[in-house]
């Protein structure tokens, strides 16, 4: 359940930003969550609901943009989409790949009023 810590971090960052802006409440929080970030989106949503209570973000919505994962083959240098860490290169079937994107865990924007 590391999603609980992550939900708490999200609320911390969002509330700090909202306060700096002098906002009275947060209506939504936008995230980038990579496919290989190690975070379960259902679990994050569940934790978020309980953590946002009593904060500026109470009753806000969490908008999650799931970032697909991409990798580059170190052998033949081709770039391709992957859906797990175990992906093989579709061209040469090598597994020496470098993950280019998909680990994101980022708070993009906070909508406030």
């Amino acid at each position: 359940m590391h999603e609980m810590s992550i939900a708490m971090n999200i609320i911390d960052i969002a509330c700090k930003e909202a306060k700096k802006d002098g906002a009275s409440s947060i209506s939504s929080i936008e995230l980038d969550v990579g496919k290989l970030s190690g975070v379960m989106i259902d679990s994050l949503n569940f934790c978020y609901e309980s953590v946002c209570k009593g904060t500026l973000a109470e009753n806000s919505t969490l908008s999650i943009n799931e970032v697909p994962a991409r990798a580059n083959c170190k052998k033949c240098n081709c770039s391709f989409e992957i859906d797990s860490f175990m992906a093989l290169c579709p061209e040469c079937e090598g597994y020496e790949i470098e993950i280019l994107q998909g680990r994101e865990l980022k708070l993009r924007a906070v909508s406030v009023n």
């Binding site: 002098g22 409440s25 290989l36 970030s37 953590v51 009593g54 500026l56 597994y95 708070l107």
Partner: protein, 260 residues
């Protein structure tokens, strides 16, 4: 537990072996805002603030601070991760007993409850601090910062951090370690790297433990290594039995080399 949200995050305790009291960390600092004050009309309209921040940014920053401290004191820090029961504590007991004359060491033990592991480590004579995370499923960089402050690390030493037994959550939390070591035992399935890839992706070293039990279990070492390499082709392996000592010499040699 936090009275406001019940999150349990301040239930972490730090206790040295032999101390009969513990203290709480001051890590609980998330926001509980209540917004009962009036706001000017200037701010009454909806607007979007661009943030673009890493959600684990604060932990990563604290981890970098730990890393800087370790570098300045020439402390080689290892984060040991695994599922519960893979033999991390036995591996540590044997390692510390074998190397304590050559490498001054200290240990941070992470478990949800009990001093059991710290008590076991203490019998080796190496300084140890137990972190009990309460409901927490992983150690984080702030806990490590508090813990090594208590331990008063020596210059030119090694710090072994035994993370909470959990093959999922600790993967995401950088502690500032030099190397992350994932331990898997042959009594688990050889497909563990495929089932828990995030942890194997985040590790530098994979120790396959309890190899003395190979005749009695269906565990294919080569298959396990192949799976792990599919997840992370940079992984290095040690095949050991902490109980019998088989394969431990090459692990000790590696530690000595890294701790120079």
């Amino acid at each position: 537990m936090c009275d406001t949200c019940g999150c349990g995050s301040d239930s972490t305790t730090f206790r040295k072996h032999g101390e009969d009291h513990h203290h709480h960390g001051d890590g609980h600092h998330h926001t509980h805002d209540h917004h009962t004050h009036d706001h000017s009309d200037d701010h009454s309209h909806d607007r979007t603030i661009s943030v673009e921040q890493d959600i684990l940014g604060e932990n990563n920053l604290l981890a970098q601070r730990n890393r800087g401290y370790f570098e300045a004191k020439n402390v080689f820090a290892i984060n040991l991760v695994s599922s519960p029961g893979s033999g991390k504590t036995t591996l540590l007991e044997k390692t510390l007993t074998a190397l304590k004359e050559e490498i001054p060491s200290a240990v941070i033990e992470g478990d949800q409850q009990t001093m059991n592991d710290a008590d076991r480590i203490a019998t080796t004579g190496v300084p140890v601090l137990q972190i009990n995370t309460g409901n927490g499923c992983h150690l984080d960089a702030d806990m490590i910062h508090t813990a090594y402050g208590e331990l008063k690390l020596q210059d030119n030493s090694a710090l072994f951090i035994e993370n909470v037994g959990n093959l999922v959550c600790p993967a995401l939390f950088d502690l500032g370690e030099n190397k992350r070591v994932v331990v898997i035992s042959v009594t688990e399935g050889d497909d563990k790297p495929l089932k828990y890839p995030t942890m194997f992706d985040a590790a530098d070293i994979c120790i396959i433990n309890k190899i003395d039990l190979l005749p009695y279990v269906q565990f294919d070492v080569e298959k396990c290594k192949e799976y792990a390499l599919q997840v992370n082709h940079k992984l290095e392996f040690f095949e050991v039995s902490a109980t019998t000592g088989a394969g431990m010499d090459s692990w000790y040699e590696w530690l000595k080399e890294m701790s120079k």
